[in-house]
Assembly symmetry: C2
Homo-oligomer: 83 residues x 2
C-alpha cells in the first residue's frame, strides 16, 4: 500500500530564526507590522509500506537519520493512505 | 486582536524540486525507498488585526508582495485567533 507522510520540521522554541527575522523586517519595509515570523520546512513523502505502522516507523527513522537535526529541530509526522 | 497565520508555500505541480530529489537520493543511500519527496516552506506569522477578515487580507498581500513567487509557487493560508 502507498502512504503519504507530511513531515514538518520546526526550530525548537528559543532558537534564533534568522530567516524569520529577515522576512519580518522586509514585511515592515513594505508597511506590514507583525508580532513574529517563524519558518519551518515541510516534506511530503510518498512511500510503499505493509501497514501504516510500518510507514510511520520508516518515516520516523528517515527524520532521525537525515531530515531533522535532533539538537535544533522538532518534527511532526502526519500520515495517510493515498490509494 | 492577535491572529496566527500558517502560510504554506509549495512549488507548482510539474516544477522540478531539486531539494526533494536530493533528499530522495540520500534516503535511498540510507536504504529507504520512497516514491517521491516534495519540499515546501511553512511560515507562522502572528499579527494584530481588527478582524479575521482584515488579518487574511493582510497575509494575502504579504504573500503576493514578498513571501510567494506567483510564477512558481502555490500558497495556502490558514488563520486562527490566538487570544
Amino acid at each position: 500500500m502507498q502512504y503519504q507522510a507530511d513531515v514538518t520540521i520546526e526550530l525548537k522554541a528559543g532558537m534564533l530564526d534568522p530567516e524569520g527575522t529577515t522576512i519580518k523586517r522586509a514585511l515592515e519595509h513594505l508597511g506590514y507590522e507583525t508580532d513574529s515570523v517563524r519558518t519551518a520546512k515541510k516534506y511530503t513523502i510518498t512511500l510503499e509500506a505493509e501497514s501504516i505502522h510500518d510507514a510511520r516507523e520508516n518515516v520516523e527513522e528517515m527524520c532521525q537519520k537525515l531530515i531533522a537535526n535532533p539538537i535544533i529541530h522538532n518534527y511532526a509526522i502526519s500520515l495517510r493512505e493515498t490509494e
